[in-house]
Symmetry: none
Subunit: 202 residues, 4 copies
Amino acid sequence: MATKEEIVKGFRVRELLEATRRVIARNGFQGTTIDRVAEEAKVAKGTIYLYFPTKEDLLHAAILEGLRAMVSETAEADNPELPPLERISELVRNQFRIQSSNEHFLKAFFLESSFVNFEPGDVRGEELRRVYIDHLEFLASVLGLAIRAGVLRPTDPQFAAFMLSDMITASIRRRLLGLASTPIEADADAVLEMFLKGVLAP
Amino acid sequence: MATKEEIVKGFRVRELLEATRRVIARNGFQGTTIDRVAEEAKVAKGTIYLYFPTKEDLLHAAILEGLRAMVSETAEADNPELPPLERISELVRNQFRIQSSNEHFLKAFFLESSFVNFEPGDVRGEELRRVYIDHLEFLASVLGLAIRAGVLRPTDPQFAAFMLSDMITASIRRRLLGLASTPIEADADAVLEMFLKGVLAP
Amino acid sequence: MATKEEIVKGFRVRELLEATRRVIARNGFQGTTIDRVAEEAKVAKGTIYLYFPTKEDLLHAAILEGLRAMVSETAEADNPELPPLERISELVRNQFRIQSSNEHFLKAFFLESSFVNFEPGDVRGEELRRVYIDHLEFLASVLGLAIRAGVLRPTDPQFAAFMLSDMITASIRRRLLGLASTPIEADADAVLEMFLKGVLAP
Amino acid sequence: MATKEEIVKGFRVRELLEATRRVIARNGFQGTTIDRVAEEAKVAKGTIYLYFPTKEDLLHAAILEGLRAMVSETAEADNPELPPLERISELVRNQFRIQSSNEHFLKAFFLESSFVNFEPGDVRGEELRRVYIDHLEFLASVLGLAIRAGVLRPTDPQFAAFMLSDMITASIRRRLLGLASTPIEADADAVLEMFLKGVLAP
DNA sequence: GATGAATGAGCGTTCATTCAT
DNA sequence: AATGAATGAACGCTCATTCAT
């Protein structure tokens, strides 16, 4: 059961993590310093160390929470009762919307960090990977259902899920690199069409 | 005409760039310091500054050369006389081979840096983007030919090229994240199949 | 109103500036490094940067304060009600006393730096020059009064002030170069006599 | 007797010292590096170390020679047969001319370095001081003659020589600080008048 | 608990000096 | 003798972390 202190602590932690993400969004990972986070959170520098033992832990927690928010928002927006194809279609559209609304934090995340800053075997890295893998498995399960329903060809759903997820990220990245000329609304459809139909002439 | 000194200088530059890429591979971009490069190249710190005016220039040159090597190797392995589909197939297979052989350096590059470390407008960043864009345009031109030949559906070849390139990178990334259970040789085929046919049931 | 923190900060700043002047005195401007100042002030290197953004700012502030102390001490010791000649005489005597008590810092300042270390147009250099020029103008105004009172010949008071100031400095420099055999008390009188009467036989 | 090698060596040394003074003139003492001197002398960096064991020795020799040139030019321009007052007058005018023609090197010397860069007891510092003292003694001897001739008041000629020399330097410094509005030709007369007659009303 | 002044290891960079050619 | 590539100590500065208040 949560004591009053724990609740207060929870608030502080949340504030710190949000401030951290804002700083990441504004300055990138490189430019994220403890000083800046403290200033953004309107808290003394030392205070951060009451809640996080190192900067890496703070960053990790901020990313993890941000990623979890994105992932769970995806899951919540999912409607399992839709026909498989429409469900997938909605998922893609939702994910586009989510990543675009979160854009600022995710921009830095997808362009700069990914999952590399942690050594293989590092607990925090594993945790991060875990969240991502859970997300992929959720996608894979949806794809798996569609395959079993005969709507999709029998392919490796894990592989397909990874590719689908990456294609979404990729088209956002493409936009951030200044290589997209189409309006952003068209991206979800373009990704979906390519994912579903490929490029081969019928 | 190259004098003897220029040749020696060329060797040193190459050694330094290779050492730099090894350090990037081992420590990531964040962890790449002049000290470490010097140690890796078995050279005093100051020596590096005889060949590169700043650390950024060194990193840029190392990345640029690594990227160019990858790109030009792709172009050289291309056989324009193949039928469109086989040509694309070969391109994908080649790129897989190339990116896997370069694996260590490219890992850090594709996972960590992308093209972000340079401010927009930075000459070096633009140069880097240019190389990448050239590569994409080459892919796009091959896809464009296939479209005009009626082998591929009429789609935006730029978009398709970006996605294809990214799918290759993604499946390597997937492997680096420990999410692949299939043998690496199967990746190229899997990417190709998805790219060409999509996942939709016929 | 000064808070407690501001007072403490003021102490630190003063300690740092004094330490800086001691280091300048001991090692000259060339030999003044942040490390040495930190050691002299018994403070970690980084601490200095909490109070001064760059080394140049630290040096500038230390010199400026040292110069201002000298200049304002001169002004305060001035007695405007004395007859012109006695007033000038007192001014010279006072300046000798002041410059000799500050000797160590001023030695380096007058022998090494002058006002050169700052580019023309540099705000800090201008500030330094300003203090010096103000001092000269104060001297010039006193000389100007004496001229209008008919006690001094009509000459350019700006020029005379510069020369008088420099003669004082010069005779201290002469002492530092080991060229003086007379007791230091005699210097003020010697300078005054030369300044007032010149060397020409009557 | 000078061997051929010694003559060649003499040429090189002279070239190096001249190059050094040009670099000092252009970049100040701070900005004088071995690299720049080597480039200015069109010689490899290592070559300098065949002739001078350290940078300090090079600088010292360059200053010493530059100072000697100035001093001996003063002595050569002297006409001992002139009446004392005219002789002094000519000396001052000549020194102004010399220091103004050498202006570039001397500017840095008089504004930046003086004699301080060498520890007391340092052989090179003493040598420098010696040249300067010799010059002062020459001036003092001329003043002494004038005193004995009854043209100047009986004063300490050493002191007077130092002051006269410094007043010349000071008025050049004043000009370099941007504090002079009169034409440069007037400086010599102004210094002379002040030195001879002082500022006191008759 | 909260603060923020203090710390010092570590960074990128410069440059006097050395030494193999 | 002459070269200039190589060296590495030293510099100014940053910033994650600590700790007295």
